[in-house]
């Protein structure tokens, strides 16, 4: 009976994690550690670390990780499917409403005001990330904590993107190679 349980748990996680990964983490913890004991607290820490280090949404990473531990590949697939099922319905409904009613003056007005807010949210996310790589977090901004190599890597990437419109994924891959090289030289 483990597969239906997994499925239902991750449907709940998918349904209630509104606003992205930082909401999903405690939900995954309560379902998989506290409620069903599929993971120990230590395994959950490993999950959080891996989710941070690998691509993809945290909730999906969590679903795959827990599914694999509990029931192998079928578990991973079932948990992942459960996790995206609520999105499939709700985001599709929103897509339909958007297509059908976006010309309405009221919705136009709401969207016009949402766009600058979204721009601000994206900008703030980027700035937080920059502070993270440059100083190890926003609480630690000081010259002693400055990560000069990381800042140089960021500056090079930012310049190439703005000046030469370098492909973003290529930029990231080059930065990965740069991080490895700087690290091996003992600079990072």
């Amino acid at each position: 009976m483990i597969l239906p349980q997994l499925f239902l748990s991750f449907v709940q996680i998918g349904l209630f994690s509104i606003g992205g990964g930082y909401v999903a983490i405690p939900l995954i913890q309560s379902q998989t550690v506290d409620l069903h004991h599929w993971l120990t607290a230590e395994q959950f820490m490993d999950l959080a670390t891996i989710a941070e280090m690998t691509p993809g949404p945290i909730a999906l990473n969590g679903a795959t990780f827990v599914g694999m531990r509990v029931a192998g590949l079928p578990g991973a697939v079932i948990a992942t499917f459960g996790c995206i099922l609520p999105s499939l319905f709700i985001a599709s409904l929103l897509a339909y409403i958007y297509r059908k009613y976006r010309e309405l003056p009221m919705l136009q007005g709401v969207l016009a005001s949402l766009r600058p807010a979204v721009v601000a949210l994206i900008g703030a996310a980027g700035l937080n990330m920059l502070l993270q790589i440059a100083f190890g977090g926003r609480q630690q901004i000081s010259p002693e904590n400055a990560q000069w190599a990381a800042m140089a890597l960021f500056a090079g990437a930012f310049f190439s993107l703005r000046k030469f419109r370098l492909n973003p994924i290529l930029t990231m891959a080059l930065c990965g190679a740069g991080g490895l090289a700087l690290g091996l030289l003992g600079l990072m």
Binding site: G14, S17, G19, G20, G21, Y22, D46, T49, I50, M53, P55, G56, P57, I58, L60, T64, M68, A76, T80, I84, P86, S87, I90, A91, L94, A95, Y98, R99, M106, G109, V110, L111, A112, S113, L114, R115, P116, A117, V118, A120, L121, I122, G123, A125, G126, L127, N128, M129, Q132, I133, A150, L153, A157, P168, I169, M172, A173, C175, G176, G179
Partner: protein, 190 residues
């Protein structure tokens, strides 16, 4: 016709696969990569649509990346487009985590892996700030002070006061609705 539709779906699938495989971090990261691909490169969406979809993706439950894929997929290729975009988004994390979960100690403690990831984080920050700078410039070009005010308030709320993103989206929506009602009322009186 059939040929070009198939090609479009394949491009959508592989674009999402590629973006999803390389985007570390939260939902805003994937959205900025999608903007560069679908707005700047393929011209399948305009910038306004991409921002609208980001707001919608953020406000519906579940992973932002998956929601954004669903919204973009419907727009680009209907139901088949949605399915292609979701599959493209989901496959990389499932494959990567499945493999890593088998030997994660090796992975998490490997010095080379940590260095590459650290370097990549610098690149991600650069991509996000590059895209937000372009988007911000376009907001400033709109010439509407209400938009400047919303942008400044949303930035302060999230960056300085750590207000939950959902509340910021809701507040911006309310401001938009109030402005519509207000201008209607004004129009009636004139």
């Amino acid at each position: 016709m059939e040929q070009s539709r198939r090609k479009r779906l394949l491009t959508l699938f592989f674009s999402m696969l590629y973006i999803s495989a390389f985007t570390f971090g939260g939902g805003f990261v994937i959205v900025t990569f999608m903007k560069r691909k679908f707005v700047d490169e393929l011209h399948w969406l305009d910038e306004q649509e991409m921002l609208d979809m980001t707001a919608l993706a953020q406000s519906s439950p579940g992973a932002i990346a998956v929601n954004a894929a669903i919204l973009t997929g419907w727009k680009v290729g209907g139901f088949a487009g949605m399915a292609a975009a979701v599959l493209g988004t989901v496959i990389p994390p499932v494959v990567i985590i499945s493999v890593i979960s088998l030997f994660y100690n090796l992975f998490a403690e490997n010095r080379f892996v940590t260095l590459v990831l650290k370097g990549m984080a610098c690149g991600v920050a650069a991509v996000i700030l590059d895209v937000s700078l372009s988007l911000g410039k376009n907001v400033l070009k709109s010439g509407q002070w209400t938009h400047y005010a919303v942008m400044a308030a949303a930035f302060a709320a999230t960056f300085f006061f750590r207000v939950n993103v959902i509340w910021i989206i809701l507040a911006a929506a309310v401001v938009g609705a109030v402005l519509v009602l207000y201008s209607r009322k004004g129009g009636g009186q004139a």
